[in-house]
Symmetry: C2
DNA sequence: GTAGATCTCGACACCGTGTCGACTGGAGTC
DNA sequence: GACTCCAGTCGACACGGTGTCGAGATCTAC
């Protein structure tokens, strides 16, 4: 049995072979980390051309300059590669998060516009990965779980903000904050995946933020700016 | 080359062998139509248990009491079966459509609640098919096209209603009606697929209609009832 | 220089798909 | 009541993708 390689998804620092990090000598064979990165890069490149189902492990391996069995040293399956890719996008998205201001929010339209724009930017810079993960979510429990974890984070946050706005008298009462935040988050999610996957009907990129903003402001504050 | 069987999707009456319809004699071998129906029934049953990717053609064939090659006499692939299934659901949904009232709508809350309920009812009675089609949509162009056709229909209709309401002075101006209808339709679509596929986060069935109704009314009329 | 971990791949077993060609049995001639 | 036509049926095959195993090369540390 070959040595198993953890192939780090699940956020935490890429630990697998960090001790090998500081080695600038050009070795005859590319290092393991370089190969892993090459597989991921190949995957993201190919995903921009065709769905995951039409990409074989042979494609990923040869794209990274290795043989098919060697692929399995780095990842246990195609799904695992997508999981890693999605994990990196998620990390990036977390970093792009807009800091939450105290309620009442001085300029709600500006604030929510920033939130929407940040969200769009984070996932929009990896359209292919987002679209592939969206496609895989329904049929793959692990992808689905990671996606759910992300979405639940946004929903929790939005629900807390809505509650704070209501408590501060800035927003009127309405449906329970959590349910309202869920409906709005699902709208945003779906609007973006439709755009990224070139599906119809979809909101054109130029109008996406303003249209969603109108719905959010109306639903939360009862008034569109 | 075996006789090709059209295996009627695309709405129109199930024409393939209608001439065989009026035959009550119990023949030693079930008729072709019965077999086709058996395959569809097996597919819908199995889809309630596991995703399409984990259902083999062998499963469908044996479930319908035929061998794998015989399956290909009736359908050209698994995807074809799902397409037929989705087509039937779409027909059912079209039949459940709420007639459009003249603007201004006397009781907008009641009207939009009916629309949402009808939508939920039509797809909710075939959760498994809806969830499977949702999953396949992103990776299969044909499923995607059929789904798009359906969604575009709803969006067109909703956009026309919003425009009429505005023209009648019942709803204030706002984002272009088509974009607003798109955002709201995507929200409704996603809320339902999340519910049907038991994904998180999702709106619980009991609160789904009222929450979505609040968002729709706020976004279209500027006021939640 | 040698021990142990890391990394590599040829060869294999397996499974699901889709096709081909031969067969079966009932329905419609005459 | 033999004949032929055709919808329907399936055994056997070819193929392509997945994942594993075991034998190796190569690097690192001491």
């Amino acid at each position: 049995m070959a040595t198993s390689r953890p192939s780090a998804h699940h956020s935490s620092a890429n630990g697998p072979s960090a001790h090998r990090a500081s080695r600038s000598r050009r070795s005859s064979r590319p290092s393991g980390d370089e190969r892993e990165a090459a597989i991921l890069a190949t995957a993201e490149r190919l995903l921009a051309e065709r769905p995951l189902a039409e990409i074989s492990i042979e494609d990923l391996a040869s794209g990274a300059g290795i043989s098919r069995p060697t692929f399995y040293f780095y990842f246990s399956s195609k799904k695992d590669v997508l999981l890693s890719l999605l994990d990196r996008v998620a990390e990036e998205a977390d970093r792009a998060i807009v800091p939450r201001p105290p309620s009442p929010i001085a300029d709600p339209a500006a604030f929510w516009r920033d939130v929407l724009t940040a969200f769009l930017g984070a996932f929009g810079s990896h359209r292919a990965v987002t679209a592939a993960a969206d496609a895989a979510r329904a049929s793959d429990p692990e992808i689905g779980a990671l996606w759910s974890r992300l979405m639940t984070g946004w929903v929790d946050r939005d629900a807390a903000i809505i509650e704070a706005e209501r408590a501060a008298g800035a927003a009127p009462d309405g449906p329970p904050a959590r349910e309202l935040a869920t409906a709005l988050s699902l709208m945003v999610e779906r609007s973006m995946t439709a755009l990224f996957a070139d599906q119809e009907p979809a909101l054109p990129r130029e109008q996406l933020v303003e249209t969603l903003l109108h719905v959010v402001l109306s639903a939360v504050y009862g008034t569109a700016a």
